[in-house]
Amino acid sequence: MAYLLETSGLTKRFGGLTAVNKVNLSVEEAKISALIGPNGSGKTTLFNLLMGVYPPNEGKILFRNQNLTGLIPSQISRRGISRTFQNIMLFQRLSVLENVMVARDQHCRSTLFGVLLGTPAMAREDEETRQRAKALLEFVGLTGMEDQEARNLPYGAQRLLEVARALATEPQLVLLDEPAAGMNTSETHELMQLIVKIRDMGRTIFLVEHDMRVVMGISEHVIVLNYGQKIAEGTPSEIQGNPEVIQAYLGRGKKRA
C-alpha cells in the first residue's frame, strides 16, 4: 500500500488546549479519505498543520517521503498539496477567472522584464494560463461566470470556485475542508460526483465533512478525531458500527432512574 501522506505524533497546543494530540495518520494515494469528528475535535487545526498555516509543537508530516514539517503554505503548495477553506476565502474583488489564474503562478516562468517588454513567450504563457483556468472552471461547472467578481457569486458557486482554484496548482493531494457545508441536496450530490471525478484523475482527496451522506457515500477510508485524538479509522461501514465513534457523536447512554 502506497501512502502519499503520513503524520506521526502530530501535536498542536494553543495555550493550555491541546487541539491535536499525537495523531498518527496515513492517507492512501489516489483514494478518497475522510476526517470526521464532533465540532472542536481538531479537524481544521489538523488541516492547518498539514498546509503549514502554523508549525506543530511536536511530530512530523511526511509527504511522498519528504519531510514537510516547518514549511510555510506557499512551499507546501509547491510540493503538491492544495486546500479549500471551511469559511470561504476567495480573492473577493478579483474575477472568477483571475481567482483561478492566480493559483497557476507557481507554473509561470515569465520575468518582470518579459512582462514590461511584452515578449511573445510571456504572451503565450499568459494565454496558456487563461486557457487552463477556463478549462478548470468548465470542469467544476462555472462556465459563463468567468468575468464576474468572486464576491458576487452565489454561495454554492463560491465553494466550487475554491475547488477550481485548489486544482489549478496541479496538486497531488487535495484537502477539502467541509466542501458540502451549506449546500442543498442536489448541490451536494453534484459535489460528490465532482470529488469522485477528481479522484479518478489520479489526485488524492482528503476531506473534512459533517455531511454523513458525503462521507459514507464516497470515501474509501475514514479517520475519526475526538478531543484532538484519533479514536478510530477504517472503511465507512466499519466506522458506522464502531461503538466509540457512536459515543463520541451521541454521548454515553444514561440509564434513567
Binding site: 473577493q92 507557481q106 518582470l112 512582462v115 511584452g118 499568459d126 489549478a168
Partner: protein, 314 residues
C-alpha cells in the same frame, strides 16, 4: 465617442507646451512628476495592499542620488536617473524586509518612521547633502548637444517618464505579477495557500514602487535645479497617498487623475488666500464622502469613459 475623447486628451497632453504660458506649464511639469509618484505608490498600496506613508523618502533618495552624481562626479543625467531608480529600489528592499513582520496600521507607522529617518538624515548629513540649505546648481540634462533647459522641452522629458510609468503599471497589473499583488491585497493566507510567495512579492512591490519614485526624484531635482529636505517631508508622502485614494485605489488611471486633481486644486484655490488650505481640506472630505471608491469609479458610471484598462482591481 470614446476613441474621439481619448484622442482629444492625447492631443491636449502632447500640445501643452505649445500654447501654455510659463507658470501653468511649470505646474504641468510638477503634475507629471506627481503622476509618476502616485502611479508608483499605487502599485504598492493599491495593488499589493501594503500601506506606505513614507513614499517621499524614495522621492528624496532618487533626487539626492542623481544630484550628487551630477554635481560631485559630473555623471550625465541619463546615467544618473537610472542610478537614482536603482539606489531608491535598494532602499525599497531595505524597507520591505523588516515590514514583512507587520501589517496594516503597524506597517503605516513603520513607513512613517522610515520617511522621518530619511528626512533627518538629509538635514544632518551636511557634508554630503548640504543639510537644510540643500544643493544648488543642479545641471539640466542634455543629449547630443541639445539641452532640456526650457520648461517646454523638459515637459516632454517628464511626459516620457510619466508615460513609461503608466505603461509599466498597466502591464504589470495584467500579468502574473499583478495577479499575485492583488491576491495578497485580497487575502494573504489564501494567496500563500495557492503557492504565491507572499514574502517575495511584497518585497518586489516595494522595489518596483521605490524604483519609479526614484526616477521621479531625479526628474524633480534636474528640473528645479535646487533641492533641500523641505520637498520630501511627511506632508509630501500624505499628498501622494491622498492622490491615489481620491483617484481610486488600485487603479492606474485613478492614480493619474488623483495626481492631477491634488496638484492643481490648491493652485486654483489660491484666490481664497489664507483660506485655501481649509477649503481644499473640506473639498477632499466631500470627495471621500460622495465618491468613496474614487474619482475613477465615478467616471466609469459614464458610458463613454469606461475602458477595459480601468476594469481590473476596482
Amino acid at each position: 465617442m470614446k476613441k474621439a475623447i481619448n484622442f482629444v486628451i492625447l492631443l491636449l497632453v502632447f500640445s501643452l507646451p505649445l500654447w501654455l504660458p510659463h507658470y501653468p506649464l511649470h505646474l504641468a511639469c510638477m503634475v507629471g512628476i506627481f503622476v509618476i509618484l502616485s502611479v508608483s505608490l499605487n502599485i504598492l498600496v493599491g495593488f499589493a495592499g501594503q500601506i506606505s506613508l513614507g513614499h517621499a523618502a524614495f522621492f528624496a533618495v532618487g533626487a539626492y542620488t542623481s544630484t550628487l552624481l551630477a554635481v560631485k562626479f559630473g555623471i550625465p543625467f541619463w546615467l544618473g536617473i537610472f542610478a537614482a531608480g536603482f539606489v531608491s529600489l535598494a532602499f525599497g528592499i531595505l524597507l520591505g524586509v523588516p515590514t514583512l513582520r507587520v501589517r496594516d496600521i503597524y506597517l503605516s507607522v513603520v513607513t512613517i518612521c522610515f520617511g522621518l529617518i530619511v528626512q533627518l538624515a538629509l538635514v544632518n548629513l551636511e557634508s554630503i547633502t548640504g543639510g537644510a540649505r540643500g544643493i544648488y546648481g543642479i545641471p539640466r540634462p542634455s543629449i547630443l548637444g541639445f539641452s532640456f533647459s526650457t520648461p517646454q522641452s523638459y515637459y516632454y522629458l517628464i511626459l516620457l517618464f510619466a508615460l513609461f510609468s503608466i505603461f509599466s503599471s498597466l502591464r504589470i497589473l495584467r500579468s502574473r505579477y499583478g495577479r499575485a499583488f492583488l491576491s495578497i491585497r485580497e487575502n494573504e493566507l489564501a494567496a500563500e495557500t495557492v503557492g504565491i510567495r507572499t514574502t517575495y512579492y511584497k518585497i518586489l512591490a516595494f522595489a518596483i514602487s521605490s524604483f519609479y519614485a526614484g526616477l521621479a526624484g531625479s526628474l524633480y531635482a534636474h528640473y528645479i535645479t535646487y533641492i533641500n529636505p523641505d520637498a520630501f517631508t511627511f506632508g509630501t508622502s500624505i499628498d501622494v497617498l491622498v492622490m491615489i485614494v481620491i483617484g481610486g485605489l488600485g487603479n492606474t488611471w485613478g492614480a493619474v487623475i488623483g495626481a492631477i486633481v491634488i496638484s492643481l486644486l490648491p493652485e486654483y484655490l489660491r484666490f481664497m488666500q489664507q483660506y485655501y488650505r481649509a477649503v481644499f481640506g473640506i473639498g477632499l472630505i466631500f470627495m471621500m464622502v460622495f465618491m468613496r471608491t474614487g474619482i475613477i469609479s465615478t467616471l466609469e458610471k459614464i458610458p463613454w469613459a469606461r475602458s477595459s484598462a480601468t476594469r481590473m482591481g476596482s
